[in-house]
């Protein structure tokens, strides 16, 4: 017979344990929301958290930097914009096609790009992201050019997903699902191999791990995460511009991962919450908001340099990831 405390410890070691507090927060939060604006902010947090989760798998676990991940967000976003309006594809199908396109694109470019290391990998992914943004900006016939284009709403059997409250629940569920998949991956043979690659590629190789293949796999997975996030992003905005895939957006995603904590699944949602909510909170400071945003970013990274969640968790003596 297990003692109560032991049972709790077992639960604590379950790979999905970190999601329990998150799920509770997600359910309780709407009770505190005074208006639709809060739903929208929360919805954006979930969207960026999905993208950050994927990037975290790549950066935090496999140790491969990408400064162009918003490019895949752009692919997902334009898929749900172009599919229904220009090609007559059902929005849900366009959503899936976007993810598939991102996966194929990641598979094709990943092979050569992932051979690079460190800052060279950074500049190659950056270049890839910039290329996509240029295409979205220039192919105006398809994308509406720099002004962007409207996105049709998703219709599921005569039911239009329109209200932001509905989106909140869809996105919360999608986020949790993404987190479950990420945690599944981490606690699997592939996940262990990826984390090993992060620490020593050589050691991983002499242990029989197909490093190139594993890196490519996680690159494709993270691209699909970003693409899904991009599709949601376009859908809740009802509009998409090339900004969705811009260099600054890529940097924002990286900042979310690092801020929350590389290698921490909960960190990704915390990082995205901070970077989505902070600009909203800083509007009080009017023209000083950018200076303060920059200072905050620096201060958090200097004092919690392993990221918010791992640093705070360590400070409190816990091992919460």
């Amino acid at each position: 017979m297990l003692a109560e405390a032991d049972r709790f410890r077992l639960l604590q070691h379950h790979r999905l344990f970190p999601l329990i507090p998150l799920a509770v927060i997600i359910v309780v939060l709407p009770l505190l929301f005074p208006s639709a604006y809060y739903y929208r902010v929360a919805a954006l947090v979930f969207i960026f958290a999905i993208a950050a989760l994927g990037l975290n798998l790549l950066m935090g676990f496999a140790g491969q930097v990408s400064l162009g991940h918003a490019g895949f967000m752009g692919v997902g976003a334009y898929a749900v914009a172009i599919g229904p309006s220009r090609l007559g594809i059902a929005p849900l199908l366009a959503f899936a096609l976007g993810a598939a396109c991102s996966a194929v694109l990641a598979f094709v470019v990943g092979r050569p790009i992932l051979r690079l290391k460190g800052h060279y990998l950074a500049v190659a992914t950056l270049g890839f992201g910039v290329l996509l943004t240029i295409v979205f900006t220039n192919e105006a016939k398809w994308t509406g050019g720099p002004d962007g284009m409207p996105v049709q709403q998703i219709i599921i059997i005569n039911w239009t997903v329109h209200r932001i409250g509905t989106w909140y629940w869809i996105l919360a569920a999608s986020f949790l699902l993404s987190a479950v998949i990420a945690l599944n991956l981490i606690d699997s043979p592939t996940g262990r191999a990826l984390r090993a690659i992060h620490d020593s590629e050589r050691a991983a190789r002499v242990l029989g791990i197909e490093v190139a293949q594993k890196k490519l796999a996680v690159f494709v997975i993270s691209a699909v995460y970003a693409s899904v996030a991009g599709s949601f992003f376009a859908l809740i905005n009802g509009y998409v511009t090339p900004d969705a895939s811009s260099f600054l957006r890529s940097i924002e995603l990286v900042a979310m991962v690092v801020l929350g904590g590389m290698g921490s699944i909960v960190g990704s949602v915390v990082g995205s919450a901070v970077l989505v909510i902070l600009p909203q909170a800083l509007t009080v400071f009017h023209e000083y908001e950018h200076a303060i945003l920059g200072l905050t970013l620096m201060a958090v990274m200097i004092f919690l340099r392993r990221g918010i969640v791992p640093s705070l968790s360590a400070a409190l003596g816990g091992t919460y990831k």
Partner: protein, 263 residues
Amino acid sequence: MTALAAERISIAFGGVRALDGVSFEAAAGIVFSIIGPNGAGKTTLFNVISGLCVPDDGRVWLGGEDVTALAPERLARRGLSRTFQNLQIFSHLTTLENVMVGRHRHESTGLLADLLHLPAVSWQNRITRDAALKALARVGLAAMAQRPAGSLAYGDLKRLEIARALATEPTVLLLDEPAAGCNPTETKNIETMIRSIVADDITVVLVEHDMRLVMNISDRIHVLANGHTLAEGDAAAIRANPAVIEAYLGAHSAALEPASAVR
């Protein structure tokens, strides 16, 4: 039967010949040591054998098959494993997870199963964990299983690398200075461990500076100097070889004295 053979291996880095026509044959189930002064090319030879470096010339044979320039991960799947002189520990993983990674080539779940955490994955995780725990127990680290590997003491890390390499179930194991930085007790433990590994029919190829260890356990010793083969023979023959003594005295004041390995 020959477990591992090198045939006229040559490699140069930026004009410097690190290895020049080195050949050896290690019979199955023995301890084959490679010694030589610093810079003799020992680690480079290991890198060539384990596929991390591609030789300019020469061939590597593993169990009678030509494996020259095969990628390390392919070699690992054919039963060659190694440790590193400068530790290559997965420091963000726990001790147990480090060894579990060593089981990778025996794991069979697909990516999709991993993502969905199908029952096969739980099953696989359990099997891998059990095997890894066994490997840890063998090197005496079972108690450290849940500790982050980064927090282990140096001597423990050396043993962890051996456990991790053993977890791949190799036929040939390359140990790159396993006793470097170890105190006499730890060195003794490593000696015992190597003996037990060989007892399991695994061929051990050893690079080591600790001469007492080398002389005690080696079935055969190959001496390198400046990328050339200087001598090969059993411990007694090497100890008596004037060229070897000359090389060691010339290059290194530490000579063939035992326990000179703290570097």
